[in-house]
């Protein structure tokens, strides 16, 4: 059952390996991935060991046979936004380009645990978007129709249906935020964010990818207009292709390569309550009050806020943003009013002018950027890696990400998902 490849042992996780290891008191599980020293050169370097970067490396190996790949991570795997988001997965985006990209990602998620042999705990418990006015209701219906034309499951719920689905939601006429109805994507839901990073890391490592943590990129080496490698805190590493997937720090890396991105970095905060028994079996989002909430398997209520308006790289935001979100959630769910907040945290998100990502070639040959996911990248993790691997391997975008190129800011062909795609992510 153990495959030995150099210093690597790969165990397939199954009921049998679990039983076998139980007999050994779980003291003999092999490590999930190696921690190799960086080699002097690779075919491809992926900068950023979050979910998107690890997915990119995995699909480079799996779909394109490129296994001489290094993933460089300045901290620890999944320690950035991958470990800081609210784990919501959905594909209910208004515009065709976004809908197709996010739907590809959702479909990959649906088979991901089997594909990676790692339980990412995908729970398709449904995502409900609330409408608080007649106008909200019309916007929401428009989006549902657009989604259906793109073959994405989506329904409109009346106020009575919402109340039946979520009895603890205040749908009364005296509510501070009256509920007029909602849309629902039943295939949407949540997954375990850390497991997504670890699953991709383990599966990429098994295919030969070197995952190198505590290795910060400090410079991007170029010769003429071509990328030739990167300077890191662990020495120079050469490669003819470099893919950067570093979320909030995208502008910093672009500056190292001598160009500018239409991106601004903002803090985005999330928080959890103390754990309670199951009360909320679906994800509820409200754009108007900018709050989104679900209950984790541990019983905590997981809530997400909006961004702080100022630029920051400090992974913390202001308390009043947390206060506003909690206030809105307590109006929607009066039952939660007596819960205590256990902790809140912030991540740095890379926001584009049109709230859509950039998955693109750059002015530097062989250098690719995957960034601008802003407030909603977790749901796109497998799809983002899948199209980015294609872009790097083939040196041209896949049809799914062709519209997400850098040049859309010059051509004007923006994919304006501000508000249209359910602001909260």
């Amino acid at each position: 059952m153990h495959k030995t490849d150099g210093d690597r042992r790969v165990t397939r996780y199954s009921i049998f390996s679990l039983a076998r290891n139980a007999l050994k008191y779980h003291e003999d599980w092999p490590q999930a991935w190696r921690s190799p020293e960086p080699k002097p050169s690779y075919d491809v370097i992926v900068v950023g060991g979050g979910g998107h970067g690890l997915a990119t490396a995995y699909y480079l190996a799996k779909e394109h046979g490129i296994t001489n790949v290094a993933v460089l991570e300045k901290g620890w795997l999944g320690g950035g936004n991958t470990g800081r988001n609210t784990t919501v997965i959905r594909s209910n985006y208004l515009w065709d380009e976004s809908a197709h990209l996010y739907e590809k990602s959702l479909k990959l998620y649906e088979g991901l645990s089997q594909d990676l042999n790692f339980n990412v705990m995908l729970s398709q418990r449904g995502v409900v978007n609330l409408a608080h006015s007649e106008h909200d209701m019309r916007e929401l219906s428009r989006r549902v129709h657009a989604l259906r034309l793109n073959g994405i499951d989506s329904d409109v719920l009346s106020r009575e249906e919402v109340q039946r689905l979520i009895p603890i939601l205040d749908c009364s006429s005296g509510a501070r935020f009256p509920v007029h109805g909602a849309s629902i994507q039943r295939r949407g839901g949540v997954a375990r964010h850390d497991a997504v990073a670890w699953g991709f890391a383990r599966a990429a490592d098994a295919r030969g990818v070197d995952i190198i943590q505590n290795c910060e990129v400090t410079g991007i080496l170029r010769d003429g207009g071509r990328v030739t490698g990167v300077e890191t805190t662990r020495g120079t590493i050469r490669a003819n292709k470099v893919g950067c997937v570093v979320a909030g720090h995208a502008s910093v890396l672009a500056a190292m390569a001598g160009f500018q991105l239409p991106i601004e970095s903002h803090p985005l905060q999330a928080m959890v309550s103390e754990p309670i028994k199951p009360v909320l079996h679906t994800v509820v989002m409200s754009n108007a009050v900018h709050a989104y909430i679900s209950q984790s398997d541990k019983g905590e209520l997981v809530m997400g806020a909006g961004i702080d308006t100022w630029n920051s790289y400090a992974q913390r935001g202001s308390l009043f943003i947390v206060e506003q979100t909690v206030g809105a959630v307590c109006e929607l769910f009066p039952l939660f009013g007596r819960l205590r907040l256990m902790r809140s945290w912030g991540g740095i998100v890379d926001v584009c002018p049109d709230a859509s990502p950039i998955i693109s070639k750059t002015p530097v040959e062989g250098l690719y950027f995957n960034c601008g996911w802003g407030t909603g990248g977790f749901k796109a993790t497998p799809g983002s890696g899948w199209v980015f691997a294609h872009t790097i391997a083939q040196d041209r975008p896949h049809p799914l990400n062709a519209a997400f190129a850098l040049d859309r800011f010059t051509s004007g062909a923006l994919i304006d998902e501000h508000g249209a795609a359910a602001v909260a992510h």
Binding site: H249, S251, V252, Q260, L261, P262, I263, E264, S265, D308, T309, W310, N311, S312, Y313, A314, S318, L319, F320, P353, F409, T410, S411, G412
Partner: protein
């Protein structure tokens, strides 16, 4: 929560303010003549430094006036706040 010195009202809680992004942007006077790339740069490209940043703020829940600021994007420290039209201060050394 930040404590922000409005150049007109003095120090107030951050709750009263809204950040308006990069400061000292000048409107294109020859928008019809410039290339698409230059227009895109004017319209969409913004400084996003990890360090000191020139920015505009609005005292939206106070005197409702705009002003400029120099703030650090890691420590969040304000180096200066000043009225529009006043000269751009030099950046601190660190």
């Amino acid at each position: 929560m930040l404590l922000i010195a409005c150049p007109w009202c003095g120090p107030r809680a951050e709750l009263e303010f809204r950040c308006g992004g990069q400061g000292h942007l000048t409107r294109l006077t020859d928008a019809m003549e410039v290339s698409d790339a230059e227009f895109a740069r004017y319209l969409y490209m913004r400084d996003n430094p990890k360090g000191w940043h020139y920015e505009r703020w609005n005292h939206v829940n106070g005197c409702r006036r705009w002003f400029n600021a120099v703030r650090h994007t890691v420590t969040h420290e304000f180096h200066a706040t000043y009225k529009p039209g006043e000269p751009k201060p030099d950046l601190p050394r660190s």
